[in-house]
């Protein structure tokens, strides 16, 4: 909707990296790449281990009993039974990787298949599967594995397959959710309308979307599987005679007073493999979320500010005249100070090393009791200007230069503590999306009271009375009932009235409204505009209203500021701008308004029918 929000939200925070690039992006992450190398190394060892073992891993050589590492031919020394530690370490890789493989395959096959079907088709299968998988989740996995080993004497492979089954719910839930999300995407609807059969939709659209998250989860499960398997072996539950890191840990633990260093080797091997899996899954997650961008550190930020500052300084040198004209302009037009004076405001964002200026040298005034409309298309910087005034720009934003004065007091650079006294009290804000701007966990009344009490010394009772009076004032028929409601229980139009009530409760002298009616139905929009007009007339507050709709300007505003790509292109009294637009861009925008276009004629056939 408001595309200015796009600039802060979508472009900066998390434009998700498109899936095709995921794998390449992964390899660029050094930790992930290193982990892949480690895993590949261990995997190769697991395969070729019979040929590279220095000694048979179970061969007992009494001379070697608890031999110190790095001596003689035995690199890591010998264990309590006189067996070569290095050989045992190498021989154990196979078991570990087998465990990881069995577990992953079982979990993926069961979880993904069921998740795809449940997510795509929903209905009965979904309810049954969801119930079943939440039941499986309540199974105490380790104790079941212990009992299977001890009571039934199952093999490691079977045990890991059971474990894979027991952890398959996590795969199921993830795949189901992702599939449902994709299923609800409009592009899947479009594919269905195009006549694509379900299997093709799953193949082309769903699998692509779940591919990377499934890999993420496999990495996580594999790491956990190896750790659990080693833990069970540590308890003595492995297959006798088969070397394993867990069994080596047990042996070393029993030997702890004699040769504590023996604990190190299996632990290191185990740690390397499990952490490699963990790092890969973290790498995949970060890449998917697009967070693998070097965050701008404080130093970098200062650097940028300095850079911009010098450019700004350059301008101010030539801009002293600028400032002077501004002053004369104010003195000539009105004898008193303007309510809001924005001068040379410049706001920028850094993304991927380059700087994007979203508000560029913007200056305008709002006089006391005046309604000013800022109008522009997406990316015009209109919303950013409002947030800069309120001091509510996102953290990534950089206010490079300029001045924002409210009643002559400079707001830029004011400490947060001082701003707290100004926000809500001197200037207030009405947002665009009514429902997302109410805290879902609190009743309408309690969040109004929080706001009022933040601004005034009102007691709870006074604040409550004021909130109720305000709800009544904004045209809510039954204030007490709405006061007690939660945001999800009220309509969008009602929510917007509540937000307006909250904004004007402490009689601000300036109201900043960001597309306050865009999300509303036309009939509600008209009523909310009526309300804003009435409140303005009553209190005499200044209003700065941001909109993309010239109709809103025509309905409400005294003056209008037209913005494009962060700059002001035209400013003037509403009547003048509508009748004699000076700038080509304003003319183009007004020319795009559909109000006066002649409607199309009914088609020939219809006309004949009606005649």
């Amino acid at each position: 909707m408001s595309a200015d929000a796009d600039i802060t939200g979508r472009a900066i925070a998390a434009e998700p990296i498109v899936r095709r690039g995921v794998f390449r992006a992964l390899l660029r992450n050094p930790l992930t790449a290193a982990s892949l190398v480690v895993l590949a190394l261990f995997a190769v060892i697991a395969i070729i281990q019979p040929w590279i073992l220095p000694y048979p891993p179970n061969e007992v050589n009494l001379r070697l009993t608890n031999a110190a590492p790095f001596g003689s031919d035995y690199l890591l020394g010998g264990d309590n039974y006189g067996r070569d530690i290095l050989s045992r370490l190498i021989a154990s890789t196979r078991g570990a990787f087998q465990a990881a493989a069995v577990l992953s395959v079982v979990a993926v096959v069961i979880g993904t298949t069921a998740g795809l079907i449940a997510g795509y088709y929903g209905r009965v299968f979904d309810s049954v599967a969801s119930w079943l998988f939440s039941a499986i989740m309540a199974v105490p996995a380790v104790i079941i594995l212990i009992s299977l080993y001890t009571l039934l004497g199952v093999s490691t492979t079977v045990a890991m397959a059971v474990f894979g089954f027991l952890v398959s719910p996590s795969m199921f839930w993830m795949v189901r959710t992702l599939t449902r999300n994709v299923r609800n995407e409009l592009y899947v609807d479009a594919a269905r309308v195009a006549g694509l059969p379900d299997r093709r939709i799953v193949g082309r659209h769903v699998l692509i979307a779940i591919r990377a998250p499934v890999i993420l989860m496999i990495a996580g499960l594999a790491g956990a599987g190896i750790a659990v398997q080693a833990g069970l072996e540590f308890l003595g539950l492995g297959q006798a005679g088969v070397p394993s890191w867990g069994a080596m840990l047990t042996d070393a633990f029993g030997n702890i007073y004699v040769a504590p260093e023996q604990l190190i080797w299996p632990a290191v091997a185990l740690g390397l493999v499990t952490s490699a899996f963990t790092l890969i899954s973290i790498g995949v997650r970060d890449t998917l979320e697009g967070t693998y961008v070097k965050p701008s550190t404080r130093a970098r930020r200062r650097e940028i500010e300095a850079l911009l500052g010098s450019a700004a300084a350059e301008r101010t040198l030539g801009g002293t005249a600028d400032a002077a004209t501004a002053t004369t302009a104010t003195t000539s037009t009105s004898t008193s100070q303007p309510l809001l004076a924005i001068d040379g405001l410049r706001v920028a964002y850094e993304s991927g090393g380059s700087l994007t200026t979203v508000v560029d040298d913007v200056s305008f005034r709002v006089e006391k009791g005046e309604v000013v409309g800022v109008v522009g298309e997406s990316g015009s910087g209109k919303t950013q200007t409002v947030f800069a005034t309120l001091g509510l720009l996102p953290e990534e934003a950089i206010v490079a230069r300029g001045s924002i004065r409210l009643d002559g007091r400079e707001l830029l650079g004011l400490p947060e503590r001082d701003l707290l006294e100004i926000r809500g009290h001197r200037m207030a804000y009405v947002p665009q999306e009514p429902l997302s701007n109410l805290d879902p966990s609190f009743t309408v009344g309690s969040q109004l009271v929080h706001g009022i009490r933040a601004q005034s010394r009102a007691t709870k009772k006074e604040a409550r009375d004021l909130a109720l009076a305000m709800l009544d004032r904004v045209g809510i028929a039954d204030p007490l009932r709405v006061y007690r409601r939660y945001p999800h229980q009220i309509s969008g139009g009602m929510a917007q009235r509540v937000l307006i009530a909250g904004a004007v409760a402490c009689t601000p002298s300036l109201l900043l409204a960001d597309e306050p009616t865009t999300a509303l139905d036309v009939t509600i929009q008209a009523e909310v505009l009526d309300l804003l007009r009435d409140l303005q007339t009553e209190t005499g507050m200044g209003v700065l209203i941001v909109t993309h709709n010239f109709g809103v300007v025509a309905d409400l505003c005294d003056r209008v500021v037209v913005m494009r790509s962060g700059r002001i292109v035209e400013e003037g009294r509403v009547g003048d701008v509508f009748t004699r637009p000076q700038h080509e861009y304003t003319r183009m925008l007004l020319g795009s308004v559909l109000d006066n276009a002649a409607p199309r004629e009914a088609s020939a056939r219809r006309k004949a029918a009606h005649a």
């Binding site: 939200g9 119930w131 939440s134 039941a135 989740m137 309540a138 199974v139 105490p140 380790v142 104790i143 079941i144 212990i146 009992s147 299977l148 080993y149 001890t150 009571l151 039934l152 790491g223 833990g231 540590f234 308890l235 633990f253 702890i256 504590p260 604990l263 632990a267 185990l270 740690g271 499990t274 952490s275 963990t278 790092l279 973290i282 404080r298 947030f387 309120l390 509510l392 006294e421 926000r423 809500g424 207030a428 804000y429 947002p431 997302s436 701007n437 109410l438 805290d439 879902p440 966990s441 609190f442 969040q447 929080h450 706001g451 933040a454 601004q455 939660y486 999800h488 937000l499 904004a503």
Partner: protein, 314 residues
Amino acid sequence: MLTYVARRLGIGVLVFVAVTGISYVLYHVRGADSIAYRLLGADARPEEVEIKVHALGLDRSLPEQYAGWFGGLFRGDLGESFVSNQDVTAIMSTRVPVTLSLIAATLVLTLVFSVVLGVWAATRGGVVDRVIQVVSVIVSAVPGYWLALVLVIVFALNLGLFPATGFIPITETFGGWLSTIFLPSIAIALGAIFSLAVWVRSSIIDMRRQDFVRTLRSRGLSPRSIMYRHVLRNAAPSIVQMLGLQIIALLGGAIIVERIFALPGIGQMSLDAGLAGDIPVVLGGVAFFVVVIVIINIAVDLINGFLNPKVRIS
């Protein structure tokens, strides 16, 4: 809300029946004779085996046996040990407090430290944030039992600060209880603390980006009040959900850590009983853990139902 609670409880009971039922069948799948031979030794005479089978009630049909076992639950009777002929409930009565202590201590440690660290990382950012993220990766890669080994070596054996093994019930001395439970629960909780802290951090950061937070700020609410009253309040459901999952995942680690610290808990009991072929005791252990998991799940659902006005008032 009441039907919501009732439904969760119903699902919990069904899960209990299903898990214990399937385990019961699995443990008996090898047949009565094989169970008896396991107890008596491979060289037992057939008559002995027959007597044993009859004495243990293994000659009844499986459904009948399970029904008997399940019926016993209502009388607080989990059957008798195949090995010692003691009541399983009696065997478990001294062990349940040990394992519950471990779980409770782990829960408290995880919750407190992860929230504190997560809030810290989210609000301070910078170095604190980085350190917590890096440590979480390292810790999550190390299995809890390995950490337990290190803790035993350093704090118990080398420094002698804590007892290396054993358990003192909380009913005796609180200090003693704490000293025996401290190292094991740290060993179990450490990985969870950091991974949950990272979760808390990102939940808070997500929540702070919400529109309503900006609107509250525009009303002049202080950052502190927004953080503790609104941000944490809204991040709580996802934190509680994750905490529940983490604790359930940690139960397996608890069994192994019990072994290392020689804590006489349910995990140790089940392991020893399994090795001895003592099916009723193992079943007791399984039943205990299923109940714990079901209770955790219900608690998570109830807390989140309570936190979510949409559920609470419907």
